[in-house]
Symmetry: D2
Amino acid sequence: MVERYALSPMKELWTTKANLERWLEVELAVMEAYEKLGMIPAGSAEKAKKNAVIDLKLFEEFEKQTDHEVIAFVKMATSKMGDEARFFHYGLTSSDVIDTALSLALVKACDLIIEQLDKLLQVLWKLALEHKETLTIGRTHGVHAEPTSFGLKVLNWYAEMLRNKDRLLYARRQISYGKISGAVGNYANVPPAVEKLALEILGLQPTPVSSQIVNRDHHAFFVFTLALLASGIERIATEIRHLQKTEVLEVQEPFKEGQKGSSAMPHKQNPILCERLCGLARIMRSYVSVALENNNLWHERDISHSSAERYIFPDATQTIYYMLVKTVYLLENLVVYKDRMLKNLNLTNGLIFSQKLMLALIDKGMSRSEAYDLVQNLSLRCWKTGESLKELAKKNISILNEEEIEKIFDPREYLKNVDEIYSRFGGGWQS
Amino acid sequence: MVERYALSPMKELWTTKANLERWLEVELAVMEAYEKLGMIPAGSAEKAKKNAVIDLKLFEEFEKQTDHEVIAFVKMATSKMGDEARFFHYGLTSSDVIDTALSLALVKACDLIIEQLDKLLQVLWKLALEHKETLTIGRTHGVHAEPTSFGLKVLNWYAEMLRNKDRLLYARRQISYGKISGAVGNYANVPPAVEKLALEILGLQPTPVSSQIVNRDHHAFFVFTLALLASGIERIATEIRHLQKTEVLEVQEPFKEGQKGSSAMPHKQNPILCERLCGLARIMRSYVSVALENNNLWHERDISHSSAERYIFPDATQTIYYMLVKTVYLLENLVVYKDRMLKNLNLTNGLIFSQKLMLALIDKGMSRSEAYDLVQNLSLRCWKTGESLKELAKKNISILNEEEIEKIFDPREYLKNVDEIYSRFGGGWQS
Amino acid sequence: MVERYALSPMKELWTTKANLERWLEVELAVMEAYEKLGMIPAGSAEKAKKNAVIDLKLFEEFEKQTDHEVIAFVKMATSKMGDEARFFHYGLTSSDVIDTALSLALVKACDLIIEQLDKLLQVLWKLALEHKETLTIGRTHGVHAEPTSFGLKVLNWYAEMLRNKDRLLYARRQISYGKISGAVGNYANVPPAVEKLALEILGLQPTPVSSQIVNRDHHAFFVFTLALLASGIERIATEIRHLQKTEVLEVQEPFKEGQKGSSAMPHKQNPILCERLCGLARIMRSYVSVALENNNLWHERDISHSSAERYIFPDATQTIYYMLVKTVYLLENLVVYKDRMLKNLNLTNGLIFSQKLMLALIDKGMSRSEAYDLVQNLSLRCWKTGESLKELAKKNISILNEEEIEKIFDPREYLKNVDEIYSRFGGGWQS
Amino acid sequence: MVERYALSPMKELWTTKANLERWLEVELAVMEAYEKLGMIPAGSAEKAKKNAVIDLKLFEEFEKQTDHEVIAFVKMATSKMGDEARFFHYGLTSSDVIDTALSLALVKACDLIIEQLDKLLQVLWKLALEHKETLTIGRTHGVHAEPTSFGLKVLNWYAEMLRNKDRLLYARRQISYGKISGAVGNYANVPPAVEKLALEILGLQPTPVSSQIVNRDHHAFFVFTLALLASGIERIATEIRHLQKTEVLEVQEPFKEGQKGSSAMPHKQNPILCERLCGLARIMRSYVSVALENNNLWHERDISHSSAERYIFPDATQTIYYMLVKTVYLLENLVVYKDRMLKNLNLTNGLIFSQKLMLALIDKGMSRSEAYDLVQNLSLRCWKTGESLKELAKKNISILNEEEIEKIFDPREYLKNVDEIYSRFGGGWQS
């Protein structure tokens, strides 16, 4: 992981220590289950817990010896145990521990992500409310289309993030599976009842049928959900980058005191955070193909997914976490220039009202193609000469009176249904 | 799309004609909505429906003229209409029609896919039941691990496909959204009530807030779901390819009468269908990055997604449909060699029972590392000399009696929990 | 392939007929080689050529029978041959024919692509020359940076396309390999001399060592080269989309007579071609992962690459061909608004000259940080009040005289090294 | 980067310290160039070099203050300089330093990679020579095809790696470009002569035309080359995984003393290194799409590539370096079981000689289809009954005498052209 994008507490989730602790948590839950089922002496689990050792140095030493992480872990963990050591890792295969612990980590990561996403939803809703009536030009193909509200733009992001939250909750269920089912998933040396009890203790579900591992479609789904979330952030960041262009300048990302935009050009205030987020979205996308390829393991498992997962799980969860934290900051502190929005709205001398004008003509009985041609002609003249389309309309169109024309060219008319759109979200985000 | 992989009825979904018909369906639903709301003269929709023209030649001609598909479509559709033409496409922007019609197509595609997936589930469940007790060797890292049942392998696929079905149902909801909200999504020229009624007629939901289009996260999710499903098929196909290798030969994909395996080697029966499915899974994977990139459109939309979607929607849905149809055929007609499975099970002279042996020693009071070392030594001898591990155990281990050792080396012991695993799926697939 | 993006002559390269004809070309070249080596009766090749049949219907029929393309092809091709049929496909394995013919197709495709790339280079060079002195603002982070020439922007594209041409020539060599070496590449049934002669006739090189096929790293490289070329086009298209934004409007993509920009807004002139090119670049990118995955075939070959290649080779070559043709048209007819460029250059009231000002102060002996702070302060005032930075400088900086300040704020100063940059390309493109 | 896959000396290339040192190297080269051109006082560069400070703590502190890496670097580097500080970073924009230094890093990384690739070539050549005559079965579709030599398999890898080396040398040239051309690439504040001299000192070429940065197509090409190399390693690793399967067991990857294959099954020797390499190849593939997306920056540059490159350059170069080092180890110590290869060769009772038999019949005058049918019938019988195809041939085919049949069924016949194939590589790898 790139150090500068690793934030607490997500960062701490992926240390070797945290990993070993999760493994221990799984082993102890299994012992507890055995004990509850009367399969090992009462008190073994308690004693094991008390005497269990987590010692990174020892672990590294054993790993060097054995070239096998779980064997090294078991040696380390039981290094100060008494007889209860016999029941530690009893009947288990390495993957029972590793894969179940991985689910613990991913569920925790998912919760941290949802927590930030909730903050983002809150900020977006607030911003959307604040700018419900803020007039701005809607653009398609980068070209002025029709007036709209800046809040509606934000509400669109809000709606996408709501969908992302729903997907994340779905994905969370998909990665909440553990397995304590042995080397090939048939409970040869550990009864299903142990799995059931142990996973209950850990807050996980048993996967209904496993191979040596939990199948990787569960994980691929989670990774994709994060990448899709990242692309939603990319969309927000891209919009801000556009709106911060010198010629547009309708919004600006926050600019810290003392921050310098350029070593060469002291005046520059660049949307570098937004650009950074766009770059990170590319990174997030790239994990999906890896996760999908990892699904196709040989027979009851091969371990090719493992090296790849050492990259993608820590990096994907930390990167999206960073992106969320920064997007919350970005939107909480976004500078919005309403005046400039209004000024830009008028840049085309009224061309943006052309469709409304055309429809009004149709309403008065003109055929669609006739109306289209008339409006297009006036538009082209307006475009070339810089004359106001409203004035041209007044002069050249007799079937509409002045009042009607004024109404057509009133940008606030475009906000008439905005309330209804907002109302679909009920009270929106409740903090 | 590659012609040879295009199957009916999915294929017909993506013809220009089908596309124009869906556009017309949307336009007429909108007119009906206008009419119901009393906004246009009663009977207009009916008349429009009666007089609407779908004529590919005319369409192409108009498109060449205007370089704009929807304008060409409107001209074609209304070419024989009377006054009702005035209300055709009234207040709409092209994307109201295109995007809503696209959702109709994707929902229909999704249903066809689910239909085949249901067939696959049925076949998998049948195969899993049939081989519930079929002994086979479980393999990890491609190396013999422990005995298991062939049915369990199949049940694992079944469980993954159940998850895929659940994801597809989720994805279907995600793409069941239309929008009739105008050029920038604020209902400037068409009231929300029209959208609500029109989409109801079409069986879709209004997207709570839209830009000019339905946001592309909906679509990306659907495309990913298909790719994940494809990777599940790839996993099945890869397993069969492995099991059909000359040295293994536990299963074979069906071989048609008259089919020739090789122009050079008349004896060869190659798993070419499985290999084909693996190749197609790569194709399916490749669509995901496109769909994710398409989410990041500029402002209230740019049209860069459109050219890309002309490839990925028709090709992804047709390819996965082909894959499903072929996988159903493959598994319905799979040749399973139970005898060879048993023969392969015994290839290692009993080494595969080593863990069971070790655990029995621990049960008798030996420490884990002592038991491990003892079993590893016997195993290495068995490995090198070809002696039977069971016989070596009988000769060298005194704390286990003959009966106990026989039980340890009985492969059927590994099936003892298979019933319980199956029971988790209730009655499984109900045709 | 998407019909609307399939252009001649690239399109004709990928028909079934063209494919069968290439197979025949290979078979006949092999026969000729056998004959030259005295291994088959003189005149056989000639007779075979005369009597060979290409008949699509027959082919389809045979393929249905045998489920094997090459066997079906051989049956069709030899269906009217006499005794010479014995030497047709003699000693060959299917892949000898298929893979060698594929190289013929790819080399031909590569040539067509290079032909269009040459046209693009020509157009770029012309445009670069035309606008060598056209002042425009250089932008970084979307924000005004320093003046530059529009021609230099184009020259940058030109330079990238020159690199792309060099890569394509390299890639062409990489796919100019055939193989006539039998089922596993060891010339078991065909001597190396036949391969050498036959490939010479076909204009290809023998791959120094083959499996059943030419290794797929050759092909992956070619596919990547096309994707990289596509991303260069995407960069051009993105720039134009930016420059065509309503607030910027420095260039416009060509707009055909009669073309309509929007069914709703008659005034809109949208960069739809550029957007289309951007979408297609995503498609081109997606082929790379498929091509890379295809490299990892099992043993002496599996056929999983084949289904995938039915998509990616025809689609990638046709799509990039379309992109090139359209980019040539785009740039040949690009509308450039020099006046608007000048107008935009002055939007920041001289802030863009801040670095030059700072450096002049350092030249006069000020420390870097002192100069930086002074210029930043003036810049911030200019930014906030709209005052001209030049006037502020004149008023507030005494160590620079008026003439010096005028020179600092002269945008043409930024073009002083443009000639030298152009000179690096010699005479540039020679038509 | 994943710590456990980070090896020296590649690892040290990507520390913050190494990075700052490269920046300093660039700044000093620029000062030296200025000095040589008489633009700054003689001795300035020398003094700057002597007084320059690299101090990570100071750097971090300044970066926190300014939120700008290069400004922080300049403050740190010049913190103990005298008047020469005025000429430090003079006329430069941040990217002049960053991008030029990046090229230094990538070139160095490329050299380290080529160094390991050379070792791999050496090992492959040795292994290929050693097994030139080692008979093994060639497999297509995972099914036995025809005999071949194990050395030839290795030689195929060798040939691919030779191509990879050629591509790397090409890629090295592509990333050997620096730029000292200012904020938008037009040498506004630094003359081209300075760039030329400075880059000469650094061993780089000036990019003929730059924006603020060296265009990212250069870098994308390099990243792809690494991914393609990785997929070549994946192919080797996949082959070994196949050959190490319990039923095949023709080779084994090295197994360290004390290493444990499984916590559960003491006998297991798993190809975990090969599986790890396969997983890492997926990771390497995933970088390509990021690098391609990075090419499409806005205008004269946006910085979105930067965050992404913080992942992909260090991780891609370190990962491929690890893969190469491990593949060298793997192949140097590969265990090859020649006896098992011979045993497996005979598994099909002679079916693998069927094509040779068919061709001999054609040579004797039989028609192709007659011969094919006859051989296929005998083959099917051999397949079903386990009879030897040779014996069946002797009994059922009269136009071939016993001696001829013996020759047909002699596997060494398949090696007759192996020498010629090897000879194409001259003396192969010269240590």
